[in-house]
C-alpha cells in the first residue's frame, strides 16, 4: 500500500483518538469525584473524632483510672495551673471549639470543656494518626477504582470506536479501489453507519459523478477531434493524389497533346484543396466561443449581401431575394460574417450538388417567433433519408455532383447552432431543395 506521494503517517488513528479521549474524560471525572470524596471523607472523619472528644463522666475524670487509653486528658485549676495530666500535656484551647494542635511532633485534635468543679477546665485530645490513616486508605481505594475506571473507559472507547470508524474504513477501501477497474457508469461509494460517513460518501459520489461526466465529455471531444483530423487528412489527400499524378504525367510527357486538359484538372484539384482548407478554417473559427462578432444584423441587409455574394461567385446563377414574409423581425443578434458565410455555403450546395440555375433567398417568421432564413433552389433536390446525415462533417449526399469538401452544409449547421437554432432541409416549392436556417427566438432583435 505504498505509492508515489504517500508520506509516512504520524497522526494517531481516529480509533486511538476516541479511546484516548474517553480515557482522558474518565480521568477528569474520576479526579473530581476522588477529590470531592476525599474532602468529604476527611471532614466526616474529623467530625467523628471531634464527637469522641467528650470528657468522660466527672467520676471517671476524677479518678482518671478508666480514662480511654487513646485519649490524653489535661485538667487545669481555675488559676490555669495544671492539676493532673494523663498522656502528654495538652495546650489550652478555646472552650468548646475542636482545634488541631501539634504536641511534641504529633498531630492532636483537642477540645476544652468546663471540668467537674467550677473553674476547672478539662482538655481532651486524641491523635489524628488513625483518622488520617483511615482517610488515606479510602483515598487509595478510590484511586484504585479510578484507575480501573479509566482503563475500562479507554478500552471500551477503543472497542466502540472500532465500530464507529468502520464506515470510514469501508469508505477508504472503496476510494482506494475506485480507479482500479475503469467503469462506464460513475462509481457510487457507500458508507452507511454514521451520518458523517454517509454525508461524506454522498459528497464523494457527487464529486465522482461530476468528474466522470467531465471525463466522458473530454474523452468524447478528444475522439471527435481525432476523427475530425483523420477525416480532414483524408479529404486533403484525395485531391492531392490527383494533383500529384497529373503533375507527374506532365513531367514525364512534356509534349502531351492533352496538356491543357491535365492543367485544368490540376487547377481544379488545387481549388478543392483550397476550398477544403477554407471550410476547415471556417469550421474551426465557428467552434470558438462567440466574442466581439455578435452584433445586430439587419435581415434585409443580410439577404441583399448574400445575394451579391452569390451573384459574384456564380455569374450564371439567377439569384432572387423574396421580400420578408409576414411579421419578421427587422434584425437579429448574431454574427453578420457567419450568417453570410452560411448562406453562401447553402448557395454553393445548390449550384454544385443540386445543379440549380435559380436560387431564392428569403426570411420568414418561425413558429417560435424567431427568424428563419431560407435558400430555395430549382435543382435536383436530396432524398429525404439523407437530409439529416448531410449536415454532418465530410458527409456527401448520394446525388452530390462535382466533388466538394463535404463541409458546406456542416458549416450552415454550425452557424445555425452558433445562433441558437438549427438547419432544416425540405422540398422547395420550385422543385429543388430548401435549406432553412432557423435562428433562436432569443436572437430576434
Amino acid at each position: 500500500m505504498s505509492g508515489p506521494g504517500r508520506r509516512p503517517r504520524w497522526s494517531l488513528s481516529l480509533r486511538l483518538r476516541v479511546a484516548l479521549a474517553s480515557g482522558l474524560a474518565t480521568v477528569v471525572v474520576v479526579a473530581l469525584v476522588g477529590i470531592l470524596a476525599s474532602v468529604l471523607l476527611t471532614r466526616e472523619q474529623t467530625e467523628r473524632l471531634d464527637r469522641s472528644l467528650v470528657p468522660g463522666s466527672p467520676a471517671v475524670l476524677g479518678s482518671f483510672a478508666s480514662t480511654r487509653a487513646d485519649l490524653a486528658v489535661t485538667l487545669r485549676a481555675p488559676d490555669g495551673t495544671v492539676r493532673r495530666v494523663s498522656g502528654p500535656e495538652l495546650p489550652l484551647s478555646p472552650v468548646g471549639v475542636p482545634t488541631s494542635v501539634d504536641v511534641g511532633g504529633v498531630a492532636y485534635r483537642i477540645r476544652t470543656a468546663p471540668g467537674p468543679a467550677p473553674g476547672v477546665l478539662v482538655t481532651v485530645g486524641a491523635t489524628e494518626d488513625d483518622t488520617r490513616a483511615r482517610v488515606a486508605e479510602r483515598q487509595r481505594l478510590v484511586t484504585g477504582l479510578g484507575i480501573v475506571a479509566v482503563l475500562l473507559a479507554a478500552g471500551l472507547g477503543w472497542v466502540f470506536a472500532g465500530r464507529a470508524v468502520r464506515p470510514m474504513r469501508r469508505l477508504t477501501e472503496q476510494a482506494a479501489t475506485l480507479d482500479r477497474d475503469p467503469v462506464d457508469d460513475p462509481p457510487v461509494v457507500r458508507a452507511d453507519g454514521s451520518r458523517e460517513s454517509e454525508e461524506l460518501a454522498d459528497a464523494l459520489t457527487g464529486m465522482l459523478a461530476r468528474l466522470h461526466a467531465e471525463q466522458e465529455r473530454s474523452t468524447a471531444s478528444l475522439h471527435a477531434a481525432r476523427d475530425f483530423a483523420a477525416a480532414a487528412r483524408h479529404e486533403l489527400r484525395t485531391p492531392l493524389t490527383a494533383m500529384r499524378t497529373d503533375l507527374e504525367v506532365l513531367a514525364a510527357h512534356p509534349d502531351l497533346p492533352e496538356r491543357d486538359a491535365v492543367l485544368a484538372d490540376v487547377l481544379r484539384a488545387q481549388g478543392r484543396v483550397e476550398a477544403t482548407l477554407t471550410a476547415l478554417g471556417h469550421l474551426a473559427a465557428g467552434d470558438l466561443p462567440d466574442t466581439a462578432d455578435a452584433g445586430d444584423v439587419g435581415v434585409a441587409d443580410l439577404l441583399r449581401l448574400a445575394a451579391e455574394d452569390a451573384r459574384r461567385a456564380h455569374p450564371t446563377l439567377e439569384v432572387a431575394v423574396d421580400a420578408p414574409a409576414g411579421e419578421v423581425a427587422e434584425s437579429v443578434r448574431g454574427s453578420s460574417e457567419g450568417l453570410r458565410m452560411a448562406l453562401a455555403n447553402a448557395v454553393v450546395n445548390a449550384v454544385r450538388h443540386g445543379r440549380a440555375t435559380t436560387v431564392r433567398l428569403g426570411a420568414h417568421a418561425g413558429p417560435d417567433g424567431g427568424v428563419v432564413l431560407t435558400v430555395d433552389d430549382d435543382g435536383t433536390g436530396l432524398p429525404a433519408a439523407e437530409r439529416e446525415a448531410v449536415l454532418g462533417r465530410f458527409v456527401r449526399g448520394s446525388t452530390a455532383g462535382a466533388p466538394g469538401s463535404g463541409l458546406g452544409l456542416a458549416l450552415v449547421a454550425q452557424q445555425a447552432a452558433r445562433h441558437g437554432g438549427r438547419v432544416h432541409l425540405e422540398d422547395a416549392s420550385g422543385g429543388g431543395l430548401r435549406v432553412s436556417l432557423a435562428l433562436g427566438p432569443d436572437r430576434a432583435g
Binding site: 487528412r233 485531391p239 490527383a242 507527374e248 484538372d265 481544379r268
Partner: protein
Amino acid sequence: MNEPSAELLVVDDDADVRGSLERGLRLSGFAVRSAEDGPGALRAVHERVPDAVVLDLGLPGMDGVAVVTALRAMDHDVPVCVLSARDTVDDRVVGLEAGADDYMVKPFALPELVARLRALLRRGARPAPAAEPALGEVITVGPLRIDLARRLTTVGERSVDLTKREYELLVVLARNAEVVLTRERLLELVWGYDFATDTNVVDVFAGYLRRKLEAGGTPRLVHTVRGVGFVLREGG
C-alpha cells in the same frame, strides 16, 4: 515494358483521382478500365478479368477490403494493389490480410505505382521462382511442414490457411531456413521488386505469418533480425 498491353482496372470513387490515374497509367503503357465503386469493380472483373487491379480502400458502400475478399473468394488471383488515404496501420492490415498484394498511401508517386504494377504483372501468372515445386517436394523446419506440390502448410497437426503472398513469403523463408534475408532481397524474391522502393510491406506480411503460425501457441519461427531482415528458424 515487357507487357505493354497489360490491362488494369482502376477503382476509385473520386472522379478526379480516377481520371488522373486512368490517364497517368494509360500514358505509362497500360490499357486501363475503371470503376467507381465495389459492385462496379466486380462487374468489370466478371466481364473480363484484368491483369491487375488498383483499388481504393475507402469506397462508399462496399469498401476495398470487401472487394478484395470477394475477388479472392471467387478464386481470382490477379495482383491487387490497394490505395489508402488513411495512414493508420489498421487499414493497411485489413487490405493486405484480405489478400491484396501491396498497398500505397495517397498521395503516392505515379512512377512508383507503375514500377510495382509491372513487377507484380511479371510475377502475376506464375509463382515466385523460389516457390516453384519440384515433384512431391516437402520443406520441413521444426514443426512447420510445407507440401509444395499440394500447396499445403501445417504447423504440427494444425493446418494453416495462407494467402498467396503470405505463402510465397513463407516458402522463400523456409527454403532459406537459418539464413537471414534482407527486406530488399525478400521484396525481390517474393514481389519481384528489383528496384529500390520505400515500403514496409515485408514487415506487414511477416507479421501476418507470425500471427497465423503462432496461433496454436507454437514458438516463434519467423524472427526479425533488427536492422537486417528476417530469418526462419526453430528456437531463438
